[in-house]
Symmetry: C2
Subunit: 147 residues, 2 copies
Amino acid sequence: MFSKATEYALRATIYIAQRSSDENKPGMAEIAKAIDSPQSFTAKILQLLTRNNRIVSSVRGPNGGFFLTDKAKKLPVRSILEAMGEDEVLEKCVLGLKQCSEAKPCPMHTNYKLIKGQLIDLFETKSIQSLADEFENGGAKLNNRIK
Amino acid sequence: MFSKATEYALRATIYIAQRSSDENKPGMAEIAKAIDSPQSFTAKILQLLTRNNRIVSSVRGPNGGFFLTDKAKKLPVRSILEAMGEDEVLEKCVLGLKQCSEAKPCPMHTNYKLIKGQLIDLFETKSIQSLADEFENGGAKLNNRIK
DNA sequence: ATAATTAAGGACAAATTTATCCTTAATTAT
DNA sequence: ATAATTAAGGATAAATTTGTCCTTAATTAT
Ligand code: FES
Ligand code: FES
């Protein structure tokens, strides 16, 4: 559904949201290990998310790392997709027509639009914080390396 | 959601299902034009779908082209995804964990699994024929070039 | 039989995505 | 101030996806 880059972006952001505080900010090595992603590539992705502090914030130097402002934590998950330039996936025609519309629907449109609506709703309603909470409770994981 | 290759595969197969008969079998040029896809690339994709007549059948020579057997028309749309080696998209974890499961759910799992279930159901329940019917009725399109 | 037509298939090219590595800049601790 | 730490950023490479082109094989019409 999403590119690897966006998957890493989602997992990394959720991890940072849950693990960062004023005293403790996770760094690249920790994050990449926790979400099971290639470190250098994930670093590049966090650079995107950090531009203008749109989603993620960071500090350099000893004890530096990444964190989310309270404001950022309240953002809908969809804002991560937007920052990654991949949120059109939610609006796209499932058969790849140039636009998904009632006016010129593809043969799957009538059935798919219901699912599409729920997908959009999910990504717009759920906040980054709410996912971090699921992670914190211990019920949800951000990796599943075969043990 | 799907690769371009799979999008073309879906549109091409639906088009062939509706337009082919014993007397008239659409050829590559016609198909690519009708579904607004690059002809040579689409030809490669139809080669995949034609292997062992899994989904699409073909005949070479004058008045040759592509068609679907009655049996093939009854296949679920998911079988096209399978032939394209892309049906794991339906089962995948939305955050890219190696497996989507109740045992090790990601933070979106609880919400996403409902949508996922509907997606799987849609692709397993809908037949290629039923989509061809929507196209035939004229209500559904397989392209939307900006006119 | 011959020529024309059309899909099959191989080789290759372009574009995009994924990934690594190294240098620079900022910040902190000493 | 100096050294250590950590993110930012540039350059580049590898892998995958998307796409084209040309030759071959099968079939049909004449
Ligand atoms: S037009 Fe295809 S899903 Fe809406
Ligand atoms: S584990 Fe992520 S969607 Fe099921």
